[in-house]
Amino acid sequence: MTPFTRRDFLKLSLATSGSLALSRLMPAISATKENQNTSLPGVVILVFDAMSARNLSLYGYKRPTTPNLERFAQKATVYNAHYSAGTFTSPGTASLLTGLYPWTHRAFNEAGLIARNVVERNIFQLAGEKYHRLAFSQNTWPNYFFGQFRESINKILPTGSFSLIDHLVGDKLGKDSLNGQRAFEDFLFQNDAVPPSLVFGLAERLIHRYQLNRAHSEGYPNGLPRTGSYPVVFRIEEVIDGLIETIKEFDTPTMAYFHLYPPHSPYAPTESFFRSFQGDNFFVDKPDHVLGDHDSVEKLNNRRRVYDEYIASLDQEFGRLYDFLESSGFLEKNYVVVTSDHGEMFERGVMGHNSPLLYDAGVQVPLIISAPGQRSRQDVYLPTVSVDIVPTLSHLMSGKTPDWHEGEVLPLLGGQEKPGRSIFTMYAMKNPAFEPLKKISLAMRKDQYKLIYYRAFNDYNREDRFELYDLEGDREELRDLYPDDPAITRSLRDELLGKLEDVNSLAPYMA
């Protein structure tokens, strides 16, 4: 054993006093960091699935569907011509979360995934370590994206959180939940056909039936709200309660993404609104479209009524959430974004979404953003698109925007109004994610004009077709100007086709 020398004693003393001084300094350092963090604005993104802006009284719809959203909008910025970049959850949500159009993120198939080479381009990654990043989606497909973004998210709440019935396996497989969820929920326990898992698949259906029979469905005359193809069943009020409790627990700056399933079909209005719009003589009659499903006008109007009642039911619960956010002072320190991933159609023979038709009912969605301490309503009327949300939030959270996004910082939140800007929305479900887009409907909105392009649809003998609408004079998109060939047509068409050619030349799409 070596002797303890004077030199060792001096070294030890120096080290001890140094660590003591450092330990006294540490709280001060962390306090400074904490102070810096607490000065950061939090961000809550609230997405209502399949909520068309055209069915909200906030945007001038005749039925009083959203009095509480209107209350919220009184102290927020309302974007009056906001579009989703896609017609259903996968492309719409992926664009919202990445700031990329579907031709770049490639999640345009049902249950599609974001291209593996752009997966790091997302809002959670941009928020960075200084934010606690939380994600929750009742819809399973955005949950797949969370699985892809896992490294950038601190906490992912299971899809069945705050619900009466959850997935049996679903997202409970920890690190491998993305693959596990796809294998079980989209395959072994698939809902749209016979279960490929003969024993457990049948058992899952029987267990689901048993749970459903035991769930209390009072207050929901059409049955409890549920998530379409997946087994999650819930009560809206309990989900909102869950969100309130979750928000109460925020003790550091938080970037939270909440994706709620309503008002997505199956529509389940509460007793308070069930049949509340029946007999109000509101009727929409638009001509059938050759690419539509040819549902009758009566059927469409009937479903539209139930959808509107479901929106009103949801809005009532949103009102409770808004009251909490306001009374707790949450709105004083946080940005709250309310939007949707896509719209819903009840016209031209189409009911729902997943349609190549790109009329405003299917792609125009709400966007309302409340800034910390905002006291009055502001309105933006120029077209905006879901890919704008990522650069805007990045700008608000860090003062910077990434160089890879395909949107613009939103006007009145740090961006400039840019008349003449072109924005796009598309349906490309029938294309492989790994190849150029061949069969596609693509709409370009520029100023008051909207040009829709249909490529390679069999109903058009695979010939190119265009429709052009002037939304200032023809809000309902009933008068196709394309055959009249006004002067604007050629430049719009050339721009749209040029854009498609550009994006198709980006192959290969995946690393």
């Binding site: 995934l113 690190k175 491998d176 395959f187």
Partner: protein, 179 residues
Amino acid sequence: MFLFKRIPTRDQITPVYAVIVQIIYIWTILWFFWKLPSLLYYMTMGEILATLTYLLATNLLESLVILCGPLFLSIILPMKWFRDLFVVRGTALIMPGLGYLIYIAYHFQSRNEYPAIFFKWWSVSLAVFILFAFVFFAGRVNILRKVIEFIADRAVIFLYIFIPLSVVSVLAILFRLIF
């Protein structure tokens, strides 16, 4: 001791298990190939294989669960009646039993559908009666017995294909879950 005596030998269990494996795995794999073209639209080969590992691991578990059925009967029924004729009676129980399960599955096209008729007492009793009648005659009618033994014997080949694949799948899943 009483229990061990009643459990069939490995040579008896293998062909019965092979029949179970054959039906359970092929049912899932047929669906897998039916879905494969759409999966190729948006999933990479690695992701598709990762999904496949879950299917094979689930099938392994399902097949073992099903095997418990004839093993249980072998324990509770008289040895002469079931255990001594385990290959024939077990296979005779499994083949129509799983066939009936497939028939029921076709009536469960979604979670919203519930073919209540299959779960009524008379319906279940009738199915069980027919099943056991078949099991009974399978041991008595010589030609039927030979056909069943022939099928069970030939099915063993599936064990050599599916079980190693399933074991590899289970290991792959464990690896992904841990690391």
